[in-house]
């Protein structure tokens, strides 16, 4: 396995996501993000992402849709035609 150093532009998010997937799948071992966020206190830092970080990040992006009780209840009332005019 190898460590890949990326200089990722904000427009290259698809590429970053595919690298995160590779990291999660164990194809690469680390992603090192150099100077991660411009104009912040960590602008001159280096962040090392591990497979666990990648897993959490990808899970956050693919969070399952939330269930809203009021929406679900209104849908069930609709389906049961409980409202009369």
């Amino acid at each position: 396995m190898q460590t890949i150093q990326l200089n990722v532009h904000s427009n290259h998010i698809d590429f970053l996501l595919s690298m995160l997937q590779n990291l999660k799948d164990g194809i690469i071992e680390n992603i090192i993000v150099d100077k991660p966020i411009a104009n912040t206190s960590i602008a001159n830092s280096t962040i090392r992402l591990t497979p666990k970080d990648s897993e959490l990040f990808l899970e956050a992006l693919d969070r399952p849709p939330q269930i809203y009780p009021k929406l679900k209840e209104a849908f069930e009332q609709y389906e049961n035609s409980q409202i009369k005019i």
């Binding site: 998010i13 996501l17 956050a60 992006l61 969070r63 399952p64 849709p65 939330q66 269930i67 809203y68 009021k70 929406l71 679900k72 209104a74 849908f75 009332q77 609709y78 035609s81 409202i83 005019i85």
Partner: protein, 165 residues
């Protein structure tokens, strides 16, 4: 109960009064023209005993998503300038207030939007709520766009999950 497309020969548009001038005026004079030009579709809930009597209505069309006003996790999922369904108007006649007709019309609109998204994919439905009405939509899971007071969105995936799809 079911909604049908606005039919100017069948529906007594002038008698509709939801106590909001902009929504009344739209139904009285614009909705049919917009539909003829394929700009919007207006759906009517009729009184079952008197179909000319309009209980409520909503109007659907498409709009573009302002990605920069979505949370980062959604920005990363969708294309810039991606289209989205828009519930442009939703109103209930004052004679039928407090009967949960607004909720019923919203679900009916969301069902139509969900069906449409199965044919031509788009990621969310947006609503332009009138002043003071945003809370009504938030109860059903809609979220405000960043820095907006009356413009809300609900992902299609959320509708599908809540409707048991």
């Amino acid at each position: 109960m079911q909604t049908v497309q606005l039919d100017k020969k069948r529906h007594n548009r002038k008698a509709f009064d939801c106590e909001v001038d902009a929504l009344n005026d739209y139904l009285h004079s614009m909705a049919n023209q917009h539909s003829l030009k394929d700009n919007t579709r207006t759906y009517i809930l009729e009184n079952s005993e008197n179909p000319s009597d309009i209980v409520g209505y909503y109007t659907l069309t498409m709009t573009t998503i302002e990605l920069s006003k979505l949370p980062p996790n959604l920005q990363k999922k969708h294309f810039n300038n991606h289209s989205s369904a828009l519930i442009a108007r939703l109103a209930v006649d004052k004679k039928y207030k407090h009967k949960k007709i607004g909720s019923w019309l919203l679900i009916d609109a969301l069902k139509r939007v969900l069906n449409a998204s199965d044919i031509v994919a788009f990621p969310m439905v947006i609503v332009d709520a009138k002043d003071g009405i945003a809370e009504f939509y938030e109860k059903f899971g809609f979220s405000l766009f960043l820095n907006e007071e009356n413009k809300l969105y609900l992902p299609i995936a959320t509708i599908r999950a809540n409707f048991g799809g």
